[in-house]
């Protein structure tokens, strides 16, 4: 089932940005594999801002599970580089 969300999540990532674990709705998920990874600029021109900030939105589509024996789902995580906040955008399980 494919759901779209948009909820903030806490993500732990490696030095190169690759997420390793994340907490969503109280559960800790471990990232098992990277399915896809891409980057796009947000619509920086829509938001007048005092200080120019990094415009990138970094996406990771990952396979993850909440623990051994738990179902492996595909989750799309988005990181907004300007604010360094993560959002869970989609989940398929």
């Amino acid at each position: 089932m494919n759901h779209a969300y948009g909820e903030p999540v806490d993500v732990q990532s490696r030095e190169d940005g690759r997420p390793t674990r994340f907490v969503w709705r109280g559960r800790l998920y471990t990232v098992l594999a990277i399915v896809e990874h891409w980057v796009i600029n947000r619509e920086w021109w829509q938001q007048p801002e005092d200080e120019p900030r990094l415009p990138e939105l970094v996406f990771w589509r990952v396979e993850a599970s909440a623990g051994q024996g738990m179902v492996i789902g595909v989750y799309e995580l988005r990181r907004e580089m300007a604010t360094n906040t993560w959002t869970l955008r989609r989940a398929t399980d």
Binding site: D16, E36, H37, W38, V39, I40, N41, E43, W44, W45, Q46, Q47, P48, E49, P52, L54, P55, E56, F59
Partner: protein, 1123 residues
């Protein structure tokens, strides 16, 4: 880990695509520890020599290539694709240049056959890459095999982390493996750092003419940056896994190494490639000596000296080339004169390149060329502007396209153009973008932000809204980025036959060959750059000469004509070359030139430095005998006597240095160029010659203080000749002179100022007449007085073809005769009628048709139905047209004086029948306005009111760094020059910039005997005052002119500590950042149409009401209502 070399890199010379300069890229690559860097700009090699230079400076090996557009292959049905081509060695570089030339010639389709020494990279944008993206591995392989047949190809793997990019990269790598094609990794670089990607994004939007976020634009991220080695290794691993990634990186490095170029051996840098000229320089100079009119023994000695220098620098072909060019241009009847330090060379004089005898003016060869000079000298030629292209074609046909091309010039983004492109990208409405852009002066894009906060005329506008802030901020980042490659307005490259192996050549808009070398690269590339400048004054002089009966050889007139110098001294120099500006007219009355030498000094002194420091006063005082000349040391008397002890010329600096140190003039010129580093050397050398410390110190102070302000005397001497010639013409053949100046508009003032000056000199101005006008300004006579005839070409909207037809078909018997034979567009015919061009056809008609009648008749003539009736009609007379509808003469009210002038301003751009200001005579009299001619009688410091038409405005650099706005008003009697200092700009800026007719209050500043200027304290729009007067009377006008400073529109408080935004040079000269860097005053050449035609409520009946609509006005003189 293998070091990584970027092989696919776009710099800012990929116009409106790349964002970083070659030097910035090279510096960044060096910082990231890379051994080499490629430059592969899109569709051109404009940055190649700069890249080679930057890599050398950064210790990197250069690689050169190009990213070229390729036509879709028939049958595959894909859109245009792109390939990257790299050059291997000297052969590859020549092949690359020729490939880029061919690609441009065929409308950017790369021929399938690439030359020897080239490697083709097929990346995501290639037809192979597009097929891979579409998951058509079969098509991709087929395309790849086709490429293998025509060139050495390599698959280019790129992953910029867009959606799907990594998967596509993997498929490309698989394809490479399957087809046994080598593969390399690149990053398709467009910017230095991820944070720069918004600039690239905006450029894409601007280039594609779409707003940001439009669906047709590709998505952006920050990944196409100059990534470091570690990051590229990670990219490779993510695509290929560790083992294969290592192979990919190794192969990338190996290809890079194959493509390393040696600047000297492969690019020819450091060697000169001059045209081969037959002929012997010495013999040609000996020939020239036969006509020499000066001191022959001295000339021989000097010739020997100069020839030794030329031989030592191997530059004989250079001089022979330039002499050849000059001779060919002149033999076609085109005026051609030298500009610059080259006038200091006797060889140039003997070869006929320069009319100036350097020995007569104490000019030095070493200032132009010496054995110590490392770069090639610069000879510039001035030719008639109207025949400049012709001059280029003459040079081209003489040297051939394998050896000659024009220099390219990059138009770069400045404030206005950046705002236009970024505004469009942000989706602002076009009208608003235009208004915002025009609100800014001609400043650099980088200064947009400061201009918004500091310029009074911008601060009070609505431009600080947050929505616009992001736009302005990005616009600033476009500063200096090339937008467009244009033909440099003056530069020509001359080379041996290998030019096309060193630069691509495309065709300019005028179908001239356009190189991709700019003026700075010419030296690197080892070719001659000759500047052939089109100078409007030369065209004006040429035209003037055609208006003088009998032939005058202007280049042979005596250079000591007293009446000419008298004209110059009295500042009656409107229209003259270089000396017509307010500042020049003021200076010329102070310096009071009596001969050519004085004129040379005057030209040298008229620059911000000397004007605002104290150089002019002592110079003038010594000349007038009010003061004794003083010299820092008696030994320097010989060098400084001509200027009364004041150091004005570079040549004097050379002589001083040589006298004090004995180093010779060649070394002295080198020292002059590095004066800041030479203090100790100078002190030591001078001491060794026996000068005591106090003297050495004093002389050094003079040399240093002089630093920014000196001028090359040879340059001034070359300039002085056309200055003198234009003044001579004005004095002795004024009508012809004015005709020339009006025809070619060389100066800073609008034509109406020139016409007014002509009238004041006793030359009549006759309006356009279809039977008497020519296609250009001509001198004619009226009641045995000299007169000027306005040409038909001055009619707004007329085409050259129409003007030519009118003149060819003269004389005309009637309006109908004109309409049938001249065949001009109806609006043009109507305008001719409104300015009276048909009046002479009806002088004996009774009743005489008014101009409005004539416009109505034209309307009737234009009707298609009537044309049939016309062919049947045999009545070819002026009246009695034989039309069904007869428009009786005199029924339509004629134009009143205000309407006439309005029509003249609208249609011709100048007022003929009456001076525009004449309509306000009553108001100006009641206000007590002082006319310009009477200002000189006002005591300095007194407060006056002046008024006039704004004809010039400048914001030149001034020493103190303050921004002063200079304006010139024409009040029918003459010109008044005004200065608006920063303290008054707040309250005056809006009116000063926005109005065309002004009343100004200020204090008279006595600058020199006879030329007074006014320091403005307040200004008003004259039309508005006139409206108030008509409505409420003079009392209301005076009330309106009394201002309460506290209620002024802008805050007047300037915090005492506010820093002035000045640029400070090492010599202490401070230059306001907003001093206009463009040509001054240009926008005022035409009267702003909307400001005049609506300015006379109650008098102007709306000229739109003329024609087929009858005017509704009252015929008895009361004012019709403005529509």
């Amino acid at each position: 880990m293998h070091p990584f070399v970027h092989l696919h890199v776009a710099s800012s010379y990929s116009m409106r695509y790349g964002t970083a300069s070659p030097s910035a890229l090279a510096a960044a690559a060096e910082e990231r520890g890379m051994p080499a860097l490629a430059l592969t700009d899109r569709d051109g090699l404009y940055g190649a020599y700069k890249h080679a230079h930057a890599c050398a400076a950064a210790g990197l090996k250069p690689v050169l290539g190009a990213d070229l557009r390729v036509a879709p292959v028939d049958g595959l049905g894909m859109r245009d694709s792109r390939i990257t081509v790299l050059a291997v060695g000297k052969t590859g570089w020549a092949s690359l240049c020729r490939l880029v030339s061919a690609n441009a010639a065929q409308d950017m389709r790369a021929p399938i056959a690439a030359g020897p020494g080239l490697v083709v990279l097929l990346g995501p944008d290639s037809d192979v890459g597009q097929a891979v993206a579409a998951r058509r591995a079969d098509l991709a392989a087929a395309a790849l095999y086709r490429w293998h047949d025509v060139a050495e190809v390599v698959v280019e793997i790129t992953d910029n982390r867009g959606s799907g990019d990594t998967a596509r990269a993997r498929r490309m790598l698989a394809l490479a493996r399957e087809t046994r094609t080598a593969a390399v990794l690149t990053n398709a670089v467009r910017y230095l750092d991820p944070a720069d990607s918004p600039v690239a994004q905006v450029l894409d939007a601007a280039r594609r003419n779409m707003p940001l976020g439009a669906p047709g634009l590709p998505p952006h991220n920050g990944r196409a940056h100059l990534a470091g080695t570690a990051e590229m290794a990670a990219v490779a691993t993510a695509i290929a896994g560790e083992a294969d990634a290592a192979v990919l990186l190794r192969d990338t490095l190996e290809l890079a190494q194959r493509c390393y170029l040696d600047p000297a051996a492969d690019l020819g840098i450091g060697t000169r490639h001059l045209p081969h000229m037959s002929g012997d320089l010495r013999a040609s100079c000996e020939q020239g000596l036969r006509g020499y009119r000066g001191d022959l023994p001295r000339a021989r000695e000097r010739l020997g000296h100069e020839l030794a220098i030329i031989m030592a620098t191997s530059l004989a072909p250079y001089f022979l080339t330039v002499a050849d060019v000059t001779r060919r241009i002149r033999s076609n009847g085109i005026r051609c004169s030298i500009r610059g330090s080259g006038a200091g060379s006797l060889v140039n004089h003997l070869l006929g390149i320069s009319v100036i005898d350097p020995l007569a003016h104490g000019l030095l060869m070493e200032r132009f060329l010496s054995s110590t000079r490392e770069t090639m000298p610069d000879i510039d030629l001035d030719v008639e502007s109207a025949r400049r292209i012709e001059a280029y074609r003459i040079i081209l046909s003489a040297f051939g396209e394998a050896s000659c091309a024009t220099v390219v010039m990059m138009e770069t983004y400045r404030a206005r153009s950046a705002i236009r492109d970024v505004g469009a990208a942000f989706g602002l409405p076009p009208g608003e973008i235009g208004a915002i852009a025009k609100a800014f002066p001609h400043i650099r894009a980088a200064h947009i932000g400061s201009a918004l906060t500091e310029l009074p005329e911008l601060r009070d506008s609505r431009l600080s809204m947050p929505q616009l802030t992001a736009m302005f901020r990005i616009a600033e980042r476009l500063d200096g980025l090339p937008r467009h490659a244009a033909m440099h307005p003056c530069g020509v490259l001359l080379s041996d036959a290998t030019l096309l192996d060193r630069t691509p050549v495309t065709r300019s808009a005028d179908d001239l060959p356009l190189s991709q070398i700019d003026k700075d690269d010419a030296e690197t590339a080892g070719v001659i750059k000759l500047d052939v400048l089109g100078v409007r004054m030369q065209s004006a002089i040429a035209h003037a000469l055609t208006q003088i009966p009998g032939r005058i050889d202007l280049d042979s007139i005596p250079l000591d004509d007293e009446p000419t110098f008298e004209l110059i001294r009295s500042a009656r120099t409107i229209g003259c070359f270089q000396i017509e500006s307010p500042g020049q007219r003021e200076l010329v009355t102070r310096v009071a030139p009596r001969n050519l030498a004085d004129l040379i000094a005057e030209i040298s002194l008229f620059r911000p430095g000397p004007v605002n420091s104290d150089m002019i006063t002592p110079f003038v005082q010594v000349r007038r005998g009010e003061q004794e000349a003083s010299y820092p040391h008696e030994d320097l008397r010989e060098a400084l006597a001509e200027t009364g002890g004041v150091v004005i010329f570079h040549e004097q600096v050379l002589r001083i240095i040589d006298t004090m140190t004995g180093c010779g003039l060649a070394e002295a010129d080198r020292v002059r160029r590095r004066i800041d580093e030479s203090a100790r050397w100078f002190a030591e050398q001078a001491a060794a010659r026996g000068y005591d410390e106090a003297v050495v110190d004093r002389v050094w102070q003079v040399l240093i203080a002089f630093g920014a302000f000196g001028f090359c005397k040879a340059h001034a001497a070359a300039f002085a000749i056309p200055v003198y010639q234009s003044a001579w013409l004005k004095r002795h053949h004024p009508a012809a002179f004015y005709a020339g100046v009006l025809a070619h508009d060389p100066g800073m003032y609008p034509k109406r100022v020139i016409l007014q000056d002509a009238r004041l000199a006793g030359v009549r101005v006759l309006g356009p007449d279809v039977n008497a006008s020519a296609t250009s300004w001509i001198r004619t006579a009226c009641v045995s007085r000299p007169a000027l005839r306005v040409p038909v070409s001055e009619i707004r909207g007329i085409t050259d073809a129409e003007a030519a037809r009118i003149v060819d078909g003269q004389p005309y018997r009637s309006v109908r005769d004109f309409w049938e034979r001249a065949r001009v567009a109806r609006p043009v015919a109507e305008r001719l009628a409104l300015v009276g061009a048909f009046d002479s056809l009806h002088e004996r008609s009774c009743p005489r048709p008014t101009r409005r009648d004539l416009v109505a008749r034209i309307g009737v003539l234009d009707r298609p139905v009537q044309r049939q009736a016309l062919t049947l009609d045999l009545d070819l007379d002026g009246d009695g047209f034989g039309f069904d509808e007869l428009v009786p003469a005199g029924e339509l009210r004629d134009l009143d004086p205000a309407e006439r002038v309005g029509a003249e301003l609208d249609i011709l751009g100048f007022d003929i029948s009456q001076h525009v200001l004449g309509f306000y005579d009553d108001l100006l009299r009641d206000l007590g306005v002082v006319r310009s001619a009477s200002l000189r009688d006002c005591p300095p410091g007194s407060t006056v009111l002046v008024a006039g038409v704004k004809v010039a405005m400048q914001t030149p650099a001034v020493r103190s760094g303050q921004r002063i706005v200079f304006a010139t008003l024409d009040d029918a009697v003459g010109l008044t020059d005004l200065a608006f200092f920063e303290s008054v700009q707040d309250r005056c800026a809006a009116t000063l910039f926005g109005s065309w007719l002004l009343v100004v209050r200020g204090r008279v500043r006595k600058a020199a005997p006879g030329a007074a200027t006014v320091n403005a304290t307040d200004c008003w729009d004259l039309r508005e005052l006139d409206v108030i007067r008509a409505r409420d009377g003079m009392a209301a006008v005076l009330a309106a002119m009394t201002r309460d400073p506290a209620t002024g529109p802008a805050s007047r408080a300037r915090t005492a500590g506010a820093q002035k935004p000045a640029l400070v040079y090492p010599t202490g000269f401070a230059h306001s950042r907003f001093a206009e860097t463009g040509a001054p005053g240009a926008p005022l050449k035409s009267p702003p149409r909307e400001q005049w035609t609506l300015s006379q409520p109650g008098r102007l009946a709306g000229l739109r009401g003329i024609g087929t609509n009858r005017c509704q006005g009252d015929h008895h003189g009361t004012s019709p209502q403005l529509r």
